[in-house]
Homo-oligomer: 220 residues x 2
Amino acid sequence: MKLYFSPLACSLATRIAFYEAGADATYVQVDSKTKKTEDGKDFLTINSLGLVPALEIEPGEVLTENAAILQFVAARYPEARLAPDDPSGKMRLQQILSFISTELHRGLFAPLLDKTLHPEVTAYIRKRADSRLSWLERRLAGREFLLDRFSVADGYLYAVLNWALAIGDDLKNWPSIHAYHSSIHQRPNVARAFSEELALYRDELARRIAPAPAWTAAAP
Amino acid sequence: MKLYFSPLACSLATRIAFYEAGADATYVQVDSKTKKTEDGKDFLTINSLGLVPALEIEPGEVLTENAAILQFVAARYPEARLAPDDPSGKMRLQQILSFISTELHRGLFAPLLDKTLHPEVTAYIRKRADSRLSWLERRLAGREFLLDRFSVADGYLYAVLNWALAIGDDLKNWPSIHAYHSSIHQRPNVARAFSEELALYRDELARRIAPAPAWTAAAP
């Protein structure tokens, strides 16, 4: 399987799931600005929305949408127990994946990563933050994981909470969320995935700030 | 089961699923502004996010998040065939539910329903509209349904596309989306659910415009 990802984007959650499952996968980096893959393809031909993650399950069969990809990975590697296998547990996983993707990812933190937002837009988005984070704070109080054990939802929430830190929200007002993030961050497969993607992210930033001279492209 | 809904909100999708399944359910209206239920309760004690739909499966067991509720209803009434029952079909259902909830519902049409938005916010939200609707247009070209047959995802997409019409987007630039919406609208259970909620919506509007005199509350 081939995972199209951008460093520290929400595709980090899929990498974490693969590492937790000990799964073989190929990782293809997508420049989130230019929408080019590292092997020079136009990513919009793979996902016309331009969004990572996109998972090529078989050549020509691409799955998009993080909530769907994470449930697919959990089902593909059942021995890793990355999702509940009873109907009630699956239902609660779907609920929490939907909450993360709509309320935290699309509705809150992904927009705030854009440093060029008009202040009115920032204010509009931040207006919902308290009710969403209060809900999450109560949910995580006294818990190590969102569900009974580590699941794909924890990888997703971790990836999204990283963005809170990236925009300067230190989460200190939300002690349970803060403790949860720190604890997930120390999980070996999570720490490995994060540090690898952080290095790739810094490389990408460096390339943008100081683009390689044109002549290097022609070098042997 | 008890469905907390607001007229013409995305909870319409759950009502459609119940009607398609011929399921018994109780419907409890929530005023989307005051967050009071029709029987005078504070809806925030049922879902602290204040969002419909919320489905009380058993007394005290409440499920939230439309994507999760719709998959639950489909699984509860398998004979209605409101969701694929093979793993690949379920995966595609999850993908499309996630697309609708993140990109169309939370990311596009729900915000635009707010008529008090600052023009910068409206412009920011509308910026993504073309790529999302183009994707959907291609998806629906030559198709009657999102998947092989009617599914809970069609009820959800129908409910969200109603909002496009409500904000004055006539969808005429998107012929496949327009034809799809018209076709789903004519489905008997959909037409019934829509017309019932439209009547409730108009009643709610009328109450807001001309609130009942205080003395009526004390009338026998």
